[in-house]
Symmetry: C2
Subunit: 356 residues, 2 copies
């Protein structure tokens, strides 16, 4: 199906997508001729367009209209940029903006993900998302801290190799001694430290039943917190920004489409399903017009960010099919580097101060 096109056909197809991306209007042979191929006549281009239409790359909304790209045309277009030097599409201001915002935020992976989503949306003007997968099932519990407060409360801190995953206040009996809490803490560490989330899932309480007798209440609370984390965490690590920006594009001037889009995008489970269902090993994914997801008429560009060889999460953009792919890919590429840099303390191309 993807038969090799002649060089001129390629140029024409590329020009057509380019024009359509910037205007959103059907592209005529004259447009292409005047702005991209002045050396041939519009009649020639018309003939080529006819051929491209027969090949299924483009179509006419009606007989006397220009051509509009179809999925294959976008795919062709995306392929033609992916290989090239994407990141120099960004202006110096833009890279500076991204970098400054990225390093302005220290700290938690959550803040970082959220910030990244905001940055991507700000720079591209499309809806963006970040799914953080770093806190997955192979997070190892380093330590559990039990800190007694006043009034019969205590705080449980669960510290992992990737940071903190939970901090909840629980009730303990008002009159409990601090030695008791300490003992409970030691027991909890004995039981949980070194285990992964995956381990906890299949955890069998009866095995250690005898030991925990005296600390049943506290033990159950902690187990409850861990279980909660396992069941709820999947939606906690999805960050969507700029959902309303989609309404600026003519594709979404129809209120029903807009509503459909917004309701999908504000459902974090749905978002994470859409994002995560493609192959983890591919660094860039571009999907155009995904019908079954509830966000048809959309293109989704995803980049996996890694530390070393391990995928830590995905960041991406969701926008109209007619999207500024070059820019989006450039931005995602740069953000990807930022992520690797911050998370893995790699060297960055630009000099900056960040001590470990």
């Amino acid at each position: 199906m993807l038969k090799e096109l002649s060089e001129r056909k390629k140029r024409i197809l590329h020009a057509l997508v380019d024009l359509y991306i910037s205007t959103g209007l059907p592209v005529s042979s004259a447009d292409i001729q005047s702005k991209y191929l002045p050396e041939v006549s519009s009649a020639t281009i018309r003939a080529e367009l006819s051929a491209l239409e027969a090949l299924g790359y483009i179509e006419q909304p009606h007989t006397s209209a220009g051509r509009v790209p179809l999925k294959d045309a976008y795919k062709f277009y995306v392929d033609s940029i992916d290989g090239s030097n994407a990141s120099n599409m960004l202006t110096d201001q833009e890279t500076a903006f991204i970098r400054d915002n990225f390093f302005g935020r220290l700290g938690q992976i959550e803040d970082l993900s959220k910030e990244a989503a905001k940055i991507i949306s700000d720079v591209t003007n499309y809806t963006s998302f970040v799914v953080d997968q770093s806190q997955g099932e192979n997070v190892v519990i380093d330590e559990i801290k039990l800190i007694p407060l006043k009034r019969g409360k205590a705080v449980v801190l669960i510290v992992t190799d990737k940071g903190m995953i939970a901090d909840k206040a629980i009730d303990v009996k008002e009159d409990v001694k601090s030695e008791y809490i300490d003992a409970a803490g030691r027991l909890l560490n004995k039981v949980f430290a070194g285990k992964t989330i995956e381990d906890i899932k299949h955890f069998d309480v009866s095995e250690i039943d005898a030991e925990i007798k005296g600390f049943k209440d506290i033990f159950d609370e902690v187990l409850g917190i861990l279980r909660m984390y396992i069941s709820e965490h999947s939606s906690d690590n999805v960050f969507v920004e700029g959902a309303l920006k989609m309404l600026d594009y003519p594709e979404y001037q129809n209120i029903d489409d807009a509503k459909q889009f917004l309701s999908v995008i504000s459902d974090k489970d749905a978002v994470s399903e859409i994002i995560l269902d493609d192959d983890n090993s591919i660094e860039f994914t571009v999907r155009i017009g995904k019908e079954d997801s509830g966000v048809d008429k959309c293109a989704i560009i995803t980049a996996a960010y890694k530390v070393g060889d391990e995928v830590q999460g995905k960041a991406g953009v969701i926008g109209p099919e007619r999207m500024d792919y070059k820019k989006v890919i450039s931005v995602l590429d740069y953000v990807k580097k930022m992520f690797s840099s911050v998370l893995g303390r790699d060297k960055l191309p630009d000099p900056f101060d960040d001590e470990e």
Copy 2:
């Protein structure tokens, strides 16, 4: 301005608002006559409508159209229900739904607020909000805990009389001794314990400059966390549900209005500003067509929920002016009771089990 209307004018005005609420279309004299006042002719009603128009209650979109209610008409309409027995508007299913959902959730005030917002939106089919004010500026800091972790990190816990307000990981130098952390903790408590959030706002660092010398880094981090809390917390306790439901109403079929509405409603600061700027002492507020807030064309109904005499927060609905006021007021009234009941452990009209 609120001159007393004749009984017939009242009936006609009430009928007109009723009809307009259910259809959303301008109401003609014949509509009112056939469905509400068959004993007089449409001509008579026309004469009355003319009078009501002169009084500023209603208007015609254009000469040959029916009448549409203006703000005063809605106010009149709302007044006419507020006094009556509002809560029997709800079906048994509805009260059961509210009650079950309310008590199904135990626990944190945040979960409760969020759940309440969801319930209100589900039952009324409008956008709802809950603002929790129980964690205001007179929260007293009980204690600050500094807990050292591995790898040069430490956790700061700020405990208040109302619960925990912050728990952030901070960096400390890798080689710092635990005595140092303890000392820093003692200093922090000396400085902050017993103070309110309000106090912190006007806190003058220079006063205690000498003492904190050795702990400057940690001290600054904690102060940063507190400042962050002060500046950001106002948006943490605003819960909005069902924002997209507004798009179902014909008033918001225009994409620009919809966008305007959504952008206001998804900005929590803006929401809390809109909600909180009216008098705290009034238990029910109905505002119709608030121009300056960015959500004109909307009516906002707010109920303050209390424990004892103290306002704990506000819950409400934001919807088209043409809103089912009776139902909304009934729902809010019932939710109000639920809140008082759960938070204050009052007695409820219905029997249910809730042990202290």
